[in-house]
Symmetry: C2
Subunit: 199 residues, 2 copies
Amino acid sequence: MQSASAEKYTRQRQAAIRAAAAVFAEKGFHGACTKDIAERMGIKQGSLYYYFSSKEEALGEVCLFGIQDYVEHMDNIASGDQSFEAKLTATVTSHLSSYRERNEALKVYNDERLYLPEERRTGLKELGSRYRQQLEDIFEDAKKDGVVRNGIDSHFAAQAVIGMCNAWGDLIVRDPDLDLFKVIQNCTDLLINGFSNKK
Amino acid sequence: MQSASAEKYTRQRQAAIRAAAAVFAEKGFHGACTKDIAERMGIKQGSLYYYFSSKEEALGEVCLFGIQDYVEHMDNIASGDQSFEAKLTATVTSHLSSYRERNEALKVYNDERLYLPEERRTGLKELGSRYRQQLEDIFEDAKKDGVVRNGIDSHFAAQAVIGMCNAWGDLIVRDPDLDLFKVIQNCTDLLINGFSNKK
DNA sequence: GAAGAATTCTATAGATCTATAGAAAAATAG
DNA sequence: CTATTTTTCTATAGATCTATAGAATTCTTC
């Protein structure tokens, strides 16, 4: 078990990641300054460097925080033996749920990751590629099973799902009263009835 | 007619807008420095201020350049009396064509416009809202005509079109060999067969 | 409650960047 | 070719920001 002090370190570092996510999301990586991040968590600018060795390291942690859950969900979804429709719903649900919960970190991942140091960026890129590839595989399988019509290009289809989720995610974030369940239903309905060849 | 010198001013200012678009797209507004922009068009940093009074003004011009054509297209599409399918195809075509031609300025508009001075931002926001509203109206009309099924929420639908176009626009930009026509067809096919209630 | 460890603070060196002023060079007009 | 206007250049003041060093403070543990 962690000592009490190590626990505090972990807790504060998490707080720093969340504060950085909020500030990076609002002002962008270069527009944000470390003073803003520190003040948001109630410490002074210099103290932030007890938790990060650089601003770039903070960015890396924020980006990872933004997508890790969502990539792990996809691992489970893709390897399961559910129907195409169930897998698609699970994907959209995971994506859109993450969007509300972690919208700041996700926005940072989407908009600012190119400012990461090379090494970190390639690591995250692999996560993103795996996500996309698994989604493509789901479409390929569904085409073999005849559930999705052959005219559909799996690569485009995967991109369409991601793009639509991101666009609707923005709606969700902008309007906190919006019913997540309703959005998920609309999204899958629209996608399914576009992909299905059962006319 | 413009004097020869006024013509040069106009030409150079356009060059400055394009250079700024490229640099802002690559590094983000705050990450870019005026030295980069000036050097890209072959002048020195200080000289840039002969064409812009501030970095923010340059950003404003880039954003406007990114969307103006595309908003004007929508004005024409929405006021025409074509079928729903034709209007949707025209919208997707306009959006995706712009994407390849002006992808840098569009990216800047999408990612960096929030750093604009208040006044300029609201002006662009109105353009964007008009675009979205016209697209929604197209869906509303199509629902009244029975071409689009009633279960479809026009607001979500408009967002879906925009989101899908943006996602596929990224594909187009990333892969210059990709056939624009094919992408447009895939996109409209997917959308139409999701929206149509002719089963 | 004293010793040691963990956390935060203050202060600042060094780097970078915007915007301006005024000189220099290039283009145009008479 | 000379005078005038337009464009570009050099140099820099002033502002901002990152990252570090070392002191001060707050927690833990015994």
